[in-house]
Structure formats: structure tokens, C-alpha cells
Point group: C2
Chain length 291, copies 2
Amino acid sequence: MKKALAIDVGGTKIYSTVINENGEIIGDIEKHSTPKVYSEIISTFKNIISKHENEIDIVAFSTCGAVNNQNTGILGSTGNIAKEYPTTDFQSLSSKPVFVENDANCAAWAEYEIGSAKGCLNSVMLTLGTGVGGGIIVNGQLLKGKNGAAGEMHFKLRTDKRRKCTCGAWDCFEIYCSGTGLKLTGEEVSGNSNITTYDIIAGYKSGDEIMTKIFDIWQDDILAGCIGLANIFDPDCIVLSGSMAEFVDIEYLTKETNREIVTTPTKVVKASAGNYSGMIGAALLAFRKGF
Amino acid sequence: MKKALAIDVGGTKIYSTVINENGEIIGDIEKHSTPKVYSEIISTFKNIISKHENEIDIVAFSTCGAVNNQNTGILGSTGNIAKEYPTTDFQSLSSKPVFVENDANCAAWAEYEIGSAKGCLNSVMLTLGTGVGGGIIVNGQLLKGKNGAAGEMHFKLRTDKRRKCTCGAWDCFEIYCSGTGLKLTGEEVSGNSNITTYDIIAGYKSGDEIMTKIFDIWQDDILAGCIGLANIFDPDCIVLSGSMAEFVDIEYLTKETNREIVTTPTKVVKASAGNYSGMIGAALLAFRKGF
């Protein structure tokens, strides 16, 4: 059975491990800090690859940033990694074939192959963390668009310029439905600019009235996104992943989404492919694409 | 060359004609009022079909309502046609193969094959009329979703329950960006509940300040939708069709969309496949699918 060296590149951490064609993790999970400058990022990649190159068949990157349709390089970063992050020279890192895909797309693919969206030819995944990532499966294929940048969850939930999103535009889904969005909703409702997502979640869990109100506004913004995406894609399911997904009420979101959509009934589910779904998805996509 | 009898079924009118494999209209355009009851709709279909059945190879319906993935029947109407509209018995109407697809999807396909989106493997079409229709092409295929209902432009532009959409939910793109939406924006801004879309468009064209303000709000709502859809799909283009599309400023929408999106540059264009694009698209899709 073939083996992939999977490398997950985030703004702060780089993870790596070895994964087989079944999507099983068969190596240790290695963890590095993400260096701030180009040359050191490249050195980190080279060190990881040289250590494993003889035992693996392909290298599969799950990375932040939009990845081209050839899966060979980055179209442009979203700003959470060094500006000099490599764009088209991934293949030069190894003598083995090197595959690259966006991390949210990889995670969505892992859910499709081995997770909550298994068997669902049409699904939308929302990764709710510090920001929001998106990965969409249409008819059993990753939705990439003309250049590979599709799946960005920057559609507007307001049109009166209330919050500037991290992308520079106003009022995107991300700036309301991320962890950052929860904190901002908390600040607006409580008037306390020092409020944290932790405060809100803890207060919500203990039944605090104000914290529950904040949480409900945040969750209803997620609901608004689910409704729109369900009407656009008529998906089998909407998968919620990421650190913030554990707090949402899946039954409520499913019920209310189905109450509002004009498309056919769908379900909102939590991701189940685990913390390393980005690496698993990258490896499985690379195998599928014949890298 | 094969010929299709194309039939376009709307809430008020039924059109029909004969179309060849090049998408050329080679028959007269026939027009009927849409009857209000099931039996009369069926009679109208049968009369049209019996008149042409000997000269054509297939029957291709472009219809309101969501159409299943087998292109044999309707999943459910959107409410602008008789409740008893036939659902799965289209094939019984003719001895020739009968193909069915949603009208907005058909129009999007016509733009893809012979119109403004020709050569664009990824496009989003918005039909701006009394309501809003949507048709999406992903990688050269119509986006249908799990059951065929995808492409509904009912994503929320507000989340504070300002306007009830025709679909029953609150604040959908459709209820802001349709002709109906323009009138409602006009009512809100002017305080005049008798204002018409005609008043607004005429005033906007003659430079009236209030009417221009109303128009600009409406157009910026369309822009908000374009930005979201461009971020979700990374499309080659967004095609605007329908009676309201002729008034929008395409250059403004293209420039502002590209200024805000995180995906790769796109363009907003007007549809060019003409008034009968629904019938043309239905015929071309039916030929493509081998009906």
C-alpha cells in the first residue's frame, strides 16, 4: 500500500506524519512552529521531507492559502503566513511527487472519504476557528472554480458596513461566525471590550443570560449561512468542523435550516475525521489524483 | 441534424418553438397563457406536442420549479404555478423522449453554450426579474446538488428580519435584488407605497436624486451577492439576465466585485443568448444528455 508524507502548514504550526491509502495515520505526529521567513519555512519543509523521503511515495501538503487547479502551488496567501511563502516551487522540495491543496479543502475531503460526509456526493464544510474555512464537494469532486480559489466563506451577512472582515471587505460570514466573530458579538452586546470567547462559552454553558444571548446571536449567524449554502448547493449535509464547532447545537441548526430552505431537506453535522483531517485529506486527494 | 420541441413554462405564459442542435430557433415562437388548473396545463402541453411531434426528435421543457437529477420531473414548485402542476409524468406527454430542466438552469446553460459565458467552465447566472432565478455552472456541468434543487438564490443579505421573501424566509437576496426588491427599497426610501419600479428606473435615468439613491441601494445589494458568489465559486464570470438586468452598471459591478473578493479576478456580464434562452438551453441540455 502506498504511503504519503502529509504536511499541514498553518500560520503558527506545521504538522507532519505518514498516512496510507486508507487514510490511516501510520507515523508519529511531528510538530514545528511555523517560521516567519521564507528561507526558514523551506528549511523546515526540507528537514521533514529528507527524514521520510525514503519510506514514502508522495508528499502531500495541506496548507493555508488558495491552491491552483494543478495542485502544484499557491495562488495567494490569505495573510496568515509569511508573504514570501513559496508559491510554485513545491515540487523542488522532493524527488517524490509533491501534491498541494488548501487546508479547508483537504479537511472537507477527509470528511467525504472517511468522516461525517462519507457517501455524500454533495456537501459543504465550514471550519469554525479563529477564522472560517470552507471546503465544498459537488458531485463527488472538490469545488475549485476557474483557478482553484473557490470555497471562500466571504459572503455578506449584512450590507450596512458594521464589521470589517480580516479579508478587508465588510460584513463577511467569517467575521460573524468565527471565534473572532463571537468575541465581537460579545463586545457589542455586553459593551465590554475585554470579553473573551472563553467567557462567552463558559457563561453560556452555565446559563448566564447575557452570554446566552451573545451565543445565540452568533449561532443564528451560522444558521443564516447554513440556510444560504443549502439553497445554493442542495447538499446532502453541511459539516461543521474547527475548535468552535463543538459548541453549536447541531439539532437546532438542522431543524431551523430545513424550516427555511426551498431546496430539499439536508442536515447539519459535526466533523468526525479528527484533528488531523487536513493531512488525511491531503494524502487521500493526492492518491486519488494519481500523484 | 436533430430537432427539439422546446417548451418554456412560466407562471403566466407558455412559449414553444423548434430548436436544432446548434441552438438555433428554426420554428415559429408560439405563445399561450398558463392555465390555472392541472388538466388545462396538460391539455396545452398535449396540443403543442401533437402539433409538432412528427417533425422533432425530443421534447425539452424549461420550467419554473426545481427539477430532479434525472430530468424527468419536478421536485416541487416555487409557488408561481398551479399546485397541481405535473411532477413526474412528463414522459407520458409524448412518444418522443421528454427532457425537463429548471428555467434558470436552462438559461444559464444557453449562456454557457452560445452566450456571454461561452468558454467559461465556471459561471454563475442571476436572472433578475419579478423574482430572482439562479443557474450555476461548475467545471462545465450544471450544479444540481443531491436532488436537483441547487442554484436557489435565497441566501440572506440581512439577519434582522426586515423583509419577508416570497419563499417564506427572511431577507433573501431575491427579495432585495428582484424587481419586487427594487420597489420595496423604493417604498422604504421614499415613504411612498405606490412607487413603481418604472418610476424608479425612469427617475434614475433622468438624474432624480431620490430615485438614484434607491437605484444605488438596489444595485449595491446585487453587488453584495456578486461578491459572495465570486468568493464561493471563483467563477470566470457572473452573468446577469432578466428584465431588470438591462439597467445595471456592469462596469461598476465588475470593478467593485474584484475590489472586494479574495478569489481570483472575475467579471460581471450581461446575458446575450436572448429572450428565448430558456428554450435554447433546454434543447441543448437535452441533446447533450442524449435524450
